[in-house]
Symmetry: C2
Subunit: 340 residues, 2 copies
DNA sequence: TTGTACGCGTTATCAG
DNA sequence: CTGATAACGCGTACAA
């Protein structure tokens, strides 16, 4: 039934080890016997067994993809998730890796820890903040490399691939300032701990920088902490826009953008009409929304690909060093931002 | 560095095999030695090695999740994808399985075939049509169980978990008929081969049934074949609604719904206002769109969970039999469908 | 260049 | 109830 390396060896009249050599492109194998072996492999339809290979080589050629958000839905439901996933899986497969999904980190992260401990994967790509799930020490102890994408601890010494959020906050604000706006709000999510995550802190920095450059004075209430789910976000928008009417707002993610647009179009079409809106997110997604939103567009597919690339090289070279790679976002201008 | 079963055995002063027994809950082990072993495992922080276990047991406890659409983006970008993925991963992890993603099936399905051949997973859940990718024979030959979700070959004898689309087409049409509509269109996607996929054929069947029941006559042009991507779909809508003004339309998926809504709100707000719209999809998703769409809502999370459940039991019992499970969809009524 | 022999960490089959 | 021993399928020094 199942054909092993032994069968191939017998058919090709060589020893198992020779078969193993051609399998691994070992240079020292005569062309003629190589052909014999290849021939045998072909007629038998042989494929090396995964478990046996992993055991012998100590590598599984699997990358774990951890989705670790307070609410997993927040991440998975996020429109950028598919883009990242696609970037990761397709590039991983190009490099001969497969992707193991690890998602139910919200209940208990037993599954994640198990995957680490039993050495089922060669490395991890971790999406989302890990404020409450800190298994990094374990990873280091076990010698398993890992890379964060999307968010990361501001201070920690971790490998990271992401977007230059200072630049993002800057170009968003500068764009609006150039259009004549001065009364601009930056709406950012807040985590349960009331803390603002590092990527938003960076955006605020960039935001302030644009104000300073333009000689405008910054006010603390330009930064608005906003709920990150659709439901409460919607109600928050109602409360906020009842007492405030800024001439422009910047939303820090897709969910907020939807909440804002929905509320305004439901109850304040006048405000929606005259207020300028800029959002952080994925330009492809917002392209199909109405109104079309000016977007600080992150390179999600690039992030996925880059993370895989870095991780694969770290795995190959047993390299546990850390490095951070960020890329500047693009500003995609659409009709939601207009001259004041 | 790495602690193995041998270390545990030595510390507990028993033989490896005894350790293995407590690991696998073999009943035949004295309580006292069991405690000793457990103790040793704990102090050493031991976890059984994944590869070794797979090799010896012949099971990897990994389920392959294959996303096989003509255009992978169509599926992954589909708003229901995260819901299905969540259903699958969380339930799989409950059962002690991990999920291996296999997505780049659009270029070449080498990766998929490799995963099959090297026996990296115990079974497959396959999302989307497999009209051009037919590795089922190989799966059967290798004795690997698999289950389709979402779509499947109409005739083939395959395990399948999905939605009762006849019922779906029926309730959509009946709802509109009850509201007084008679001039109703059902817009369905067509594949490259010009063929309509089985799930849409079923919906058409249900659609006709509702017409028949109401004593209304059905016309062939009530069924409208529509492009399935956002871009060409949008242009199609323009062409179509320039020459047709039905009083109600039923859209067969999220992308079409977006195309339709976008076009109408851009250029035909009058028509959007008076035409009734019903869509197939995920009610959670459409809840946040404007206008809120009446939705034939599929139970995507249930589909994921059920598929995992079925597959896990087939794996455990070496059961290669096939069975189909379908569930009736719900009709979630929102403001887009109105009395004529 | 190719064959031999052993090890990878578990599970499973037998005895005892 | 527990210990010894043989697979599981492959990689790899070490010989030849």
């Amino acid at each position: 039934m199942k054909v092993t390396i032994k069968d191939v060896a017998e058919l090709a009249k060589v020893h198992k080890s020779t078969v193993s050599r051609v399998l691994n492109n070992s240079n020292d194998v005569k062309e003629k016997t190589k052909q014999k072996v290849l021939q045998a492999i072909d007629t038998l339809g042989y494929s090396p067994n995964f478990a046996a290979r992993s055991l012998a080589s100590g590598k599984s050629h699997i990358i774990g993809f951890v989705v670790s958000e307070q609410q997993i839905s927040d991440v998975v439901m996020n429109p950028s998730f598919p883009t990242i996933l696609k970037g990761i899986t397709t590039y991983a497969e190009e490099l001969g890796y497969n992707i193991l999904m690890i998602t139910s980190v919200d209940n208990d992260y037993k599954s994640y820890e198990q995957v680490i401990r039993k050495h089922a994967v060669d490395g991890f790509i971790i999406l989302g903040s890990t404020i409450q799930i800190d298994l990094n020490e374990l990873l280091i102890q076990q010698g398993i490399p890992y890379i964060f994408i999307g968010k990361h601890h501001e201070s920690a010494d971790e490998s990271y691939v992401g977007t230059d959020n200072i630049e993002g906050g800057y170009i968003a604000a500068k764009h609006l300032i150039d259009l004549g706006h001065t009364d601009i709000r930056l709406m950012v999510g807040q985590v349960r701990s009331q803390k603002i995550l590092s990527h938003n802190i960076d955006r605020i920095t960039g935001f302030k920088k644009a104000f300073a450059e333009a000689g405008l004075s910054f006010r603390d209430d330009y930064i608005v902490k906003t709920p990150t789910d659709m439901e409460t976000g919607y109600h928050f928008m109602r409360t906020y826009f009842t007492s405030h009417e800024p001439s422009a707002v910047i939303l820090s993610n897709e969910v907020m953008a939807m909440s804002c647009i929905n509320y305004l179009s439901d109850e304040r079409p006048d405000l929606l009409e005259r207020m300028s809106i800029v959002t952080f997110g994925d330009s492809d997604f917002f392209r199909h929304l109405r109104p079309p939103l000016t977007t600080v567009s992150q390179h999600f597919e690039w992030i996925g690909r880059t993370a895989v690339e870095m991780l694969a090289s770290q795995i190959a070279e047993d390299d546990m060093s850390t490095k951070a790679v960020v890329r500047k976002p693009d500003l995609v201008i659409r009709s939601s931002s207009k001259r004041k």
